[in-house]
Each structure stands twice: as structure tokens, then as C-alpha cells.
């Protein structure tokens, strides 16, 4: 992967100027490359990873992993039905996977009831959905390579040879 992407994937706030210094390139060239990545959809979005446990939102959120079994359709396979499912805003991630079921969803809601309602009223009755298994998420330890913990203290001594 291009080093610009590698740096941004780790920390998307690093400025084009700083990336230029780190890679010994012209800032202009870095900016152009980033623009190109954005235009081509290689860079889709910049977002923060939030430790919600610490953010203490008044309405705590509930997340569930849902295994979905579906009947593929002629010509379009799984794509069409997947699109119908992932278009719901409650679905934050959607993967097609191999194994004993077909789609793995991450669904978010304000509380248990709202997630259950989505499953019972929207997802399960859908044509081609043969069955669902719901796992409510109890704790998130790590997300996208980031361990969700308080920032660690520096353990090195301040001066050494």
C-alpha cells in the first residue's frame, strides 16, 4: 500500500504538509495524491474511533452481531438482498461470509427493544431471509486495530543512553 495511505489509515489527522516532510515529497504532490484517493473512493471517509464506554452517553447504545441465512437470487446472487438489508441505518456493518450462514451484520440501536424490533419487524420477515441468530454484544475490547482502553502511561525512563 502507498505510504500516504498507510500513514492516514493510522492517523487521518496528519496534515499533507507533515506527510510531505515524512516522505520527503512536495506538499503539493501529497495533496494531489490524497485528492485523487478521495475522488476514486479509495479514501472513503475520515472518522474517529470513540470509546463509548468512556463517553457515557445518556442513552447507552446496544449492539448486536446477527447471523443471517438468505436464499440467493437468480443473476444477482446475494448482492440484491444484501443491499436491501444494509440500507437500513441500524445496520452499521454487513459482511458476506463463508460457512454455515451467509451475512454477518452489526446492528446498533438505542436499547434492547429497538434492536429486537428491527430484527422482528424488518429483518426476519424479509423475503429470502431464511433465518437469523442474534448475539448481543457485551463488551468491545478492540476495534479496527485499536485497543479500547485508557491511554497508557509512558513506561520508559525519561533519559537513557
Amino acid at each position: 500500500m502507498d505510504e500516504i495511505l498507510e500513514i492516514l489509515e493510522k492517523d487521518c489527522r496528519v496534515s499533507a504538509e507533515d506527510i510531505a516532510k515524512m516522505l520527503k515529497k512536495e506538499p503539493k504532490a501529497v495533496k494531489q495524491a490524497i485528492n485523487k484517493y478521495e475522488k476514486e473512493g479509495i479514501i472513503l471517509k475520515y472518522k474517529a474511533i470513540i470509546n463509548r464506554e468512556l463517553a457515557k452517553e445518556p442513552e447507552s447504545e446496544v449492539r448486536a452481531l446477527i447471523e443471517v441465512n438468505i436464499t440467493p437470487q437468480k443473476d444477482v446472487g446475494f448482492d440484491k438482498i444484501a443491499e436491501r438489508i444494509y440500507s437500513f441505518p441500524e445496520v452499521t456493518s454487513c459482511y458476506l461470509i463463508s460457512g454455515s450462514y451467509d451475512l454477518l451484520l452489526v446492528v446498533e440501536g438505542k436499547n434492547l427493544q429497538s434492536v429486537s424490533r428491527f430484527i422482528a419487524e424488518k429483518l426476519s420477515p424479509m423475503e429470502n431471509v431464511k433465518g437469523v441468530v442474534t448475539h448481543f454484544l457485551l463488551k468491545k475490547y478492540k476495534e479496527d486495530g485499536v485497543i479500547l482502553k485508557h491511554k497508557e502511561e509512558n513506561k520508559r525512563i525519561a533519559i537513557s543512553y
Partner: protein, 396 residues
């Protein structure tokens, strides 16, 4: 006189002469000052800012769970020596037999101590290019050798064949050659090393190489000294896991050289250390098997930070040639008119940025400071800002 003080004076009489006359590091007081202050951004750290990659830590933990808590053979686990031997051959073209040419040591520090003690008769001279890592001179003195310092500040912090030739006489036993260099980050190309080697072979002295930063060479491939034609017999190669695998606290390294020298070093090692901690040895095995990717990732990261910090230092008026390896920059602070100690003290007090005065590494380091860029980008950025303010305030 209070009883306490009286006994203190008396106890001093017990100290051996050669220890008594050893110069304690002149910047101890400065270090204590740093350790006593809060919210300091430290660019004074001589170790990676990464923790040991998890799979290596896990291997250490697993070995404890499995009950590996015993001594190992003096030379170190055969498995580890075999892995080192294979690693050196396949990655760098070095040939050392796991049976009698490799010794596992407590970091490169022990390797250095053993090698100096194994070869030094009282009065033998050991050459040390300076500025250098702090322990070389005192180790030679403890072994009752004579440390001969070679000032490299006029030759871009590199030892040249001419300088080397000038310092060799019939009492010269060895040269301690560290590259990439702590504290300057300078390193040597194959051609430069070959020229040094010719002088070494001509006078038939031993070259003790501290190549612990070898993996962290950025602009050209690191040439291991003993891979140079005909150099092997005159080379004692020291290396360790600290820098490449971010394993400083594990204290593990290795010495490779001709059987006779390794045998002599093993004798001292077996009576003084016995063997390196088995936990560290088991973790080191894992490092050699699966650690390569982590090393390359860290190296890429250091390289970017190097570009960033060198650009920044030169921009704020601290002239700094690009270091070729390790994770140190050694900029000149002469434009400020301050000595390196004054600069470091004032920078710490006024802007809370800690650096190491160049004189910590020998008097040839005057006029310079050592900056470690093994620190996060945020730290480096903030430190540069503060240094810029500091330098501007000195120019008024």
C-alpha cells in the same frame, strides 16, 4: 562528627582504586533534574518507543507457563544459537557456527565487557572513536587497559583510515567500532568499511563491532564488518535484540567471533553471569522466527520520523546532516552560542524539552545535542515548536 558521616568516610576506604578514580558520568546531575520534573517531553531516550511485539512477549509468558525457569547452558540455548546462526546467514550472509562461535549475552553491554576483558592485558590500548556510547571507555579502564579516544568531530563523526592509522602503535590491541553510531546516527558504507578494514588487517588488530543498530540503516544496506573479504578472523561482532525488536528491558544480545575468542569470553561469562535469563532466550527465539515484519514496520516508521525531525531541526536553525541509521539526530547548537550542557539545561528549564548534551558522549560531542526520534509524531512536533521558541529567545 555525627556517627553516620564518620562511617561513610571509613567505608570509602574499601572502594577499589580503579573504581574510585573512574569518572562518574558528568551529566548525572542533569539527568536527575530531568527525572524530577513533570510534563517534560523527552527526546533523551535511548530506546525504541514501541513495546516488544506481542507475539514475542507472549512467547516469554508461555515459556513461564510451561515451566521453563531453569538455567540454560552457559553459551545459551542451543536452539537460540542455531536460530541466530541461520538468521545471520540467510539475512546478511554471515557464517557463524552455533556450536562454538556464538555466545548469548546480557545485551550488547555484557558482550562488550566480556570481549574487552578477554583480550586486554594491563596497558593494552583499545581505540574508541568519539563521540561514542558511554560505556566503552570505563569498560576498558576496568579491564586495566588504556582507552585511546579518537576525535571524529572534524570528519563528519566518522572514523577515517587516516585517523585510525595515526592512533595505532605497538600496544594497540583492538578498535571498538560502533555503527550506526549512538549518538550521531552516522554510519559507514561498504567502501568506507573496506578502507578501515585494510588498516586493521595491516596492523593485525581486532575489530570489536557494536552493530546493534544495524537493522536500522535507512539510506543503504548495513554491511556487517565480518562479511568484508578476509575480515572475519579479525572481527568480534556484537549484536542484540534491544533495538531491532524493541526488547531493551529483556537484556539479551549475542557475540559472534572466532572460536578462541568466544571460548575466552565464555570462561568469564560462566563464572560471572552463568547464563542469560531463560525467559529472555525463549522470547528471543520467537523474535527470530516471527519478528521480521515488526522490525520492518518499526524501521519504516523511524525513517519517516527521521525525515520529519531533520527537516524541522534545520528549519529552526539547528544544522543537522541526515543521520544514516539508529534513531538519533545530532544537530549542531553552535549558532546559539551556548555550550551543549547550557543548551540542554536551559531548554529543559524554559521549555520542558529533554535532550542529551553531546558531551555526555565524550568531549568531541561539544557543540551538539543528541535528539532521539524514537518518540511519537505528536511529541516530535510539539518538541520542535518549543525548541523553535527557545532558539528565537536566545537570538535576542
Amino acid at each position: 562528627m555525627p556517627a553516620g558521616r564518620q562511617s561513610k568516610t571509613k567505608m570509602k576506604n574499601y572502594i577499589a582504586k580503579k573504581v574510585e578514580i573512574m569518572q562518574p558520568s558528568g551529566i548525572r546531575a542533569f539527568f536527575d533534574l530531568v527525572l524530577g520534573m513533570k510534563d517534560v517531553i523527552s527526546l533523551g531516550v535511548g530506546e525504541p518507543d514501541f513495546v516488544t511485539p506481542w507475539q514475542i512477549r507472549e512467547a516469554g509468558i508461555y515459556s513461564l507457563e510451561q515451566g521453563f525457569t531453569s538455567y540454560t547452558s552457559n553459551k545459551g540455548l542451543y536452539k537460540l544459537r542455531l536460530l541466530i546462526s541461520r538468521h545471520l546467514r540467510s539475512r546478511f550472509g554471515l557464517e557463524y557456527s552455533p556450536d562454538d562461535e556464538i555466545l548469548i549475552t546480557v545485551g550488547v553491554s555484557e558482550g562488550l565487557d566480556l570481549s574487552v576483558r578477554a583480550i586486554t592485558n594491563p596497558g593494552d590500548k583499545i581505540l574508541i572513536p568519539i563521540p561514542s556510547f558511554v560505556c566503552y571507555g570505563p569498560m576498558v579502564e576496568l579491564a586495566e587497559g588504556v582507552a585511546v579516544y579518537i576525535d571524529t568531530s572534524k570528519t563528519g563523526f566518522k572514523l577515517t583510515p587516516k585517523l585510525l592509522e595515526q592512533h595505532i602503535d605497538n600496544k594497540t590491541k583492538a578498535l571498538i567500532l560502533n555503527y550506526p553510531v549512538n549518538p550521531t546516527g552516522a554510519s559507514y558504507t561498504k567502501k568506507e568499511l573496506n578502507e578501515l578494514k585494510n588498516v586493521i588487517l595491516k596492523h593485525n588488530i581486532l575489530c570489536i563491532t557494536d552493530e546493534v543498530y544495524g537493522e536500522l540503516t535507512y539510506d543503504f544496506d548495513h554491511t556487517y564488518f565480518s562479511t568484508l573479504p578476509k575480515a572475519r578472523e579479525n572481527t568480534l561482532y556484537l549484536d542484540g535484540f534491544s533495538k531491532a525488536f524493541a526488547m531493551t528491558g529483556w537484556r539479551i544480545g549475542f557475540a559472534c567471533g572466532p572460536k578462541d575468542i568466544i571460548d575466552a569470553m565464555t570462561k568469564i561469562h560462566q563464572y560471572t553471569i552463568m547464563c542469560v535469563s531463560i525467559t529472555a532466550q525463549m522470547a528471543a527465539c520467537e523474535a527470530l522466527v516471527t519478528g521480521h515484519k515488526s522490525v520492518m514496520d518499526m524501521k519504516r516508521e523511524y525513517k519517516r520520523r527521521r525525515e520529519f525531525i531533520i527537516d524541522g531541526l534545520n528549519r529552526i536553525g539547528l544544522v543537522c546532516p541526515k543521520p544514516e541509521g539508529a534513531f538519533y539526530a545530532f544537530p549542531s547548537i553552535e549558532s546559539t552560542g551556548l555550550s551543549s550542557m547550557e543548551f540542554s539545561q536551559q531548554l529543559l528549564k524554559e521549555q520542558k524539552v529533554a535532550v542529551v548534551p553531546g558531551t555526555a558522549f565524550g568531549k568531541s560531542g561539544e557543540g551538539h545535542i543528541r535528539i532521539s526520534y524514537a518518540s511519537s509524531m505528536d511529541n516530535l512536533k510539539e518538541a520542535l515548536n518549543r525548541m523553535e521558541i527557545f532558539i528565537k529567545s536566545k537570538k535576542k
